[in-house]
Symmetry: none
Subunit: 195 residues, 4 copies
DNA sequence: CATGAATGAGTATTCATTCAT
DNA sequence: CATGAATGAATACTCATTCAT
């Protein structure tokens, strides 16, 4: 008795996800170039050949990994923005990021590793910039709304603070005082206005 | 009649330097794993084989690159510290960094790329941490001297700010307002005491 | 539908054997160092890369070759010993060796080439000595049983005779009077006792 | 003040000898293919390039090594033959060989290693056979003179005995009872006739 | 959907040999 | 005579990818 179409779809989805997850872990750990497709397949529990039923190539898998990352980020940010009061979106997004950060270090390690090496796939570079810019523009808007003298500069500074903190944390997750730094940063941003 | 010892030393030093420079550029651009030894040799203007008169292996070349980076950093920092007034070392070091940064982007790109991937050579990880720690401890000491309530926290925050700014700049050297951000950051650190 | 496990095993066994056979021939002909892995692959009818699905390295292939040789020798000797009457084991083993010798010259050429160069793989040296010693001890035991005055010396002499004959034959298989020498040697050893 | 012609000749001869000696040692130890020209040069105390003032190529050095070996053998054999009484030449030559053997193991190791691998330089194979044949023919002549029934067969057997003994000794110079075996062998050959 | 044997181009590395000095 | 920097072809080995089953 052959599998039903739906069963197949479920298997496909599950396998795809497993492969993407393995790829994230290994790319983050060893870098894209140093990670073999066999290692990804092994970690995902499938054969070397099967990967090519799901992804056309190693690079195509990288794209899928990237899309997965973007989807997670977008989802989280959108949710955070919707749930936050006026002028509180900056704080909400920062909290969201720090929460994600503490929950999945490989994810963020990979995010930054990919971003810092545009040579891997030039196509990714643009998309990364977009996320970054979007975030900074949000900061800028809120600083402007809060009446800061130079909201552009403030947004750059806040963004630097955010990035630097993430990277520091990723280097030393055990010893870095993430919670304290988080509160310290949040204290400097425009505060939510409660009705 | 063979070359004199000194002639040989000069040739060796020049070639070694050329190779290290090429390696820095290419490692920064493509990553360590994706850079071929042939590409480095070509860029340095020598044959593939000659590299192995100067470096035992690709990894050994990476070590040399790393040592070169460390030497430059140490030299710059030492000079900056010596030339700065009491309580002005933080500002001096920050200025030094931002100056180096604007002068040699590939250098810093590589520095961060190497640091973010300890899997390449575990031996490097430790040395990187040392530099980082040293810098943060300097910040901490100066904040303490200046009477800040939580100098440790302040030092972490300043360090994050520094790192984040560097990375932002490296992503978009043309558009990033490095000068303005630099001044903005320097305004927040303990100020030099003039007699 | 993938191949069955058994089909795979058969393919693997056949390919492994082909590679080992090719390696024996080429190692014997050109020596270990002068034989390229590509040449072995070509002779075995497979691609250069496939060899590494079967053997971890060239040295590991050498080990496999060695094990193969040892297995053949052990099997032949055991069979010869079991089938021979009391005090006839020396004669039986010698006959076995001379028979194998005439049947597969590359095999023996390699055996001696490997043995004469312990630098290749020190691990092999020990195993070779064991075979040699075992054989000589058998001779010694039989000479003792047959009442010889100095069985140790006799065994050394017989063993020399054996080795020298093999080597002479291998140098000139066409002209060497192997049969006559064999009979001449057998005439000097302790004779089998028939009931 | 330039060197005189004679001084140059002396230097040349000394260097050539040093290189040949180093080559013998290293070829015997690691085999021809696995020995690098640099290693030979280093062992001989000269630079890599200088070797090519003395030998056209690695193979040409091998030829020189071979010629050196042959010269030593010829000299020793000729001396032994001249000094021996009628029908005592076999014994004299055997004694000479066993004496040389105990004195310079690498020399003989190389001799056999080279001979067992004609692929190295087909040109050598012939010359080796000549030595071998000459020796066996001497044995044959003496056995004939001494009235043996089948002097050809006897000569083959004696030659095997000789070769086997040498090889056994080279494998285990410390434990092999060379002296006893030598006497045992000498006892079986035609004896010198004293007037 | 799934396997893993097979391929071949590509990589780091070695080494005989040349040559400017 | 002597050096050692330099070359480039060759080698062991890896790996993304294909394909028969």
């Amino acid at each position: 008795m052959p599998r039903t179409h739906q069963q197949n779809e479920e298997i496909r989805a599950a396998t795809r996800t497993a492969v993407v997850q393995s790829a994230i872990r290994l790319f983050a750990q060893n870098g894209y170039a140093a990670t073999t497709t066999r290692a990804i397949a092994r970690e995902a529990g499938i054969s070397a050949g099967l990967m090519y039923h799901y992804f056309d190539s190693k690079e195509s898998l990288l794209r899928a990994v990237f899309d997965h990352i973007m989807a997670i980020l977008n989802e989280a940010f959108t949710a955070a923005m919707l749930a936050s009061p006026p002028n509180g979106q900056t704080a909400a997004v920062l909290r969201t990021i720090f929460t994600l950060l503490a929950g999945d270090a490989p994810f963020w390690t990979l995010f930054y590793a990919l971003r810092s090496q545009p040579a891997i796939t030039p196509l990714l570079a643009e998309a990364f910039c977009e996320v970054t810019d979007q975030l900074r523009l949000l900061f800028e808007a809120q600083y402007r709304q809060a009446g800061y003298a130079d909201p552009v500069l403030e947004s750059y500074v806040l963004y630097s603070l955010l990035e630097g903190t993430i990277q520091q944390y990723l280097l030393n997750p055990e010893t870095y005082p993430l919670a304290a730094v988080t509160e310290r940063i949040l204290a400097t941003v425009p505060q939510p206005v409660h009705a």
